[in-house]
């Protein structure tokens, strides 16, 4: 890499790529301040009204509330089940390892239409009424695999010496787990829960196949898309985006601070 092109070409390219990635986010954010009527297609002037009175638009807040409820319940169940599997995969030898890995991978590789239609067929043949409950049952499936992947990495990077030290100091297995293993896994579990909530909150396809009459935020946007999505939807989308980015940045800066303070001590 002798030519100096490389020196500026890469940073310039990265800046252009990030602009490309951020354009629709910026667009959604800007149009959340649009003084629009029913639809939100042309710029009609700046207003804060849509932010201060989001719930005035019929159905938006109800759909948002349902999505939060579905996200929270799916995340709790998927995180608990997934963390247990992740620990077993890293720490234990057992038969059927190959099939276990495959069974955990396949939900992530299955197109959402396929899983959505499959679940809907199963609920139909069992005579289960579709609604928030069936949506949650579907979301847990794909959240679970992502939790396993995220927590597994954390378990693998955990030094077993720490747990052995606990045992040597006469801690019983339960104490070792709750006093040593679990606190050390917590950042990974938190990251998995965050990812899980984001996936559930944004899911449209599996939800749409199994929702019955219940609305979620993505379903609200989809139904409104035919005639134009109101600015209130942009407000919710932008608010969720800001909250998620702040959470991610906070965990990263916190992690970096910890790393630096550890380096200083040595």
């Amino acid at each position: 890499m002798k030519f100096s092109l490389g020196k500026y070409a890469f940073p310039l390219y990265a800046v252009l790529a990030f602009i490309y990635l951020l354009i629709p986010i910026g667009y959604t954010f800007v149009f959340s301040f649009n003084d629009s009527l029913k639809t939100n297609l042309i710029w009609r002037g700046f207003t804060l009204d849509k932010w201060t009175n989001v719930c005035d638009r019929e159905g938006v807040c109800e759909a948002f509330g349902n999505s939060v409820l579905i996200g929270v319940v799916s995340t709790i169940v998927a995180t608990a089940l997934g963390t247990m599997i992740a620990i077993a995969l890293v720490r234990y030898r057992f038969k059927f390892r190959r099939s276990t890995n495959l069974l955990l991978f396949l939900p992530m590789a299955t197109p959402e239409v396929v899983l959505g239609a499959g679940l809907a067929s199963q609920f139909f043949s069992l005579g289960v009424q579709k609604g928030i409950g069936t949506i949650i049952l579907g979301h847990i499936v794909f959240c679970l695999s992502f939790v396993v992947v995220t927590v597994k990495a954390r378990v693998a990077s955990l030094d077993p010496v720490l747990e052995e030290a606990g045992k040597d100091l006469y801690a019983n297995p339960r104490q070792v787990f709750w006093k040593i293993t679990f606190p050390l896994l917590l950042p990974g579990i938190a990251a998995a829960a965050l990812l899980s909530f984001a996936l559930s909150f944004d899911d449209f396809i599996i939800t749409n196949f199994n929702a019955g009459a219940d609305m979620t935020f993505p379903r609200y946007v989809f139904t409104a898309a035919a005639r134009g999505v109101p600015a209130e939807a942009n407000v919710i989308g932008s608010a969720v985006f800001i909250a998620a980015i702040l959470l991610v940045l906070a965990t990263q800066i916190n992690g970096e601070r910890k790393r630096r303070s550890l380096l200083k001590k040595h």
């Binding site: 890499m1 002798k2 890469f10 390219y13 990265a14 990030f18 990635l21 354009i23 667009y27 959604t28 297609l41 997934g82 247990m84 599997i85 077993a88 720490r91 234990y92 030898r93 057992f94 890995n101 069974l103 955990l104 991978f105 396949l106 590789a109 299955t110 197109p111 396929v114 899983l115 239609a117 499959g118 067929s121 499936v141 679970l144 695999s145 992947v149 995220t150 597994k152 990495a153 693998a156 990077s157 950042p187 984001a198 944004d202 449209f204 396809i205 196949f209 935020f217 946007v221 898309a225 035919a226 999505v229 942009n234 989308g237 969720v240 985006f241 991610v248 940045l249 990263q252 970096e256």
Partner: protein, 304 residues
């Protein structure tokens, strides 16, 4: 290593699995049982429904258990164009995503190594689109490229588009949307594998008088192959099954319908469950072949 790209901490692998016993079964059983009931049996249900025949005594939308293999031949002949389109759109969008992502992943993973905080910040920007609603970000592109937008009028004035030509509803727009929406799935695995790239190999190459492009082709690309393979798999699969981008209310039109659109409309609108299920089984089969190829090459440990 496919999806491991999504985890924040890198696996260091302190210990090989050593312990054995009933604890493992107790830890695995609830989750795997869940997947058995809500993932495997739905897939079996799909296969059963795909073989059903219309109920002779029932209404439209009523079906009875049967062994109608013919359903498969009917959907293949009815929806062959949509199947081909899914494959071609997914291929085009995957290649585009690879071409756009590679330099970016290289910059973050190799060039920016001296600045870990900057690396983390850029990774956050890469996944930023995931935090805005999928549907809202797709609609944003639709509005940016809508018929009266300045983007389209500028393109028309520059002569790149005829005055009666538009962008929304064309295959170009659908492929553009698919590329955008799934780019993080390509960038993250590429980054994970480039981040581990030992740059001394690159120096060795140029010390031996290889030109920069030769070093790139003979050293960088082969060393980042695991990332290229998992990124390709992770982008291609969801794109092939997507139906939001290609649907008429979003970036596509009736002439851009993909297999996902056909499954959705058969299932939810015309209630032709056997046809929708047969198409789903075919799509799933094609993807299983892809995954099997990957597993044969890299084993199952690296899937997660």
């Amino acid at each position: 290593m496919a999806f491991a790209a999504f985890s924040s901490s890198k696996p260091k692998g302190f210990s090989k699995p050593t312990k054995s016993g009933k604890v493992a079964i107790a830890l695995l059983a609830p989750g795997l049982a869940y997947l058995g009931v809500f993932f495997l049996t739905p897939l079996i249900a799909l296969i059963m429904v795909s073989l059903q025949a219309p109920d002779p005594d029932g209404f439209i939308g009523d079906y009875v258990a049967a062994f109608e293999i013919n359903n498969y031949f009917v959907v293949i002949s009815d929806y062959f164009p949509q199947m081909m389109r899914s494959f071609l759109y997914a291929l085009a969008a995957t290649i585009l995503a690879l071409v756009i992502s590679y330099p970016l992943a290289y910059f973050i993973g190799v060039k920016a190594r001296p600045y870990p905080l900057l690396q983390k910040l850029m990774l956050t920007l890469v996944i930023a689109p995931f935090f805005i609603s999928f549907l809202l970000r797709t609609l944003a592109w639709k509005q940016i490229f809508s018929n009266e937008s300045w983007v389209v009028t500028t393109l028309q004035q520059l002569g790149l588009l005829e005055s009666d030509q538009y962008v929304v509803g064309t295959p170009f727009m659908v492929i553009f949307g698919l590329t955008y929406n799934f780019i993080p799935f390509m960038t993250l695995p590429l980054y994970t594998s480039l981040e581990r790239l030992d740059t001394r190999y690159l120096e060795a190459g140029s010390d031996l008088y290889a030109s920069p492009s030769r070093v790139f082709r003979k050293v960088t690309i082969p060393l980042s192959m695991p990332g290229i393979i998992s990124g390709t798999l992770l982008t291609f699969i969801p794109i092939a099954g997507d139906y939001i981008n290609a649907s008429g209310d979003f970036l596509g039109s009736s002439s851009t319908a993909m297999i996902g659109n056909v499954i959705e409309s058969n299932y939810l609108i015309s209630n032709d469950y056997p046809a929708a299920s047969a198409l789903s089984v075919l799509l799933m089969g094609a993807i299983l072949i892809l995954v099997a190829g990957y597993v044969k090459k890299s084993g199952t440990e690296d899937l997660l």
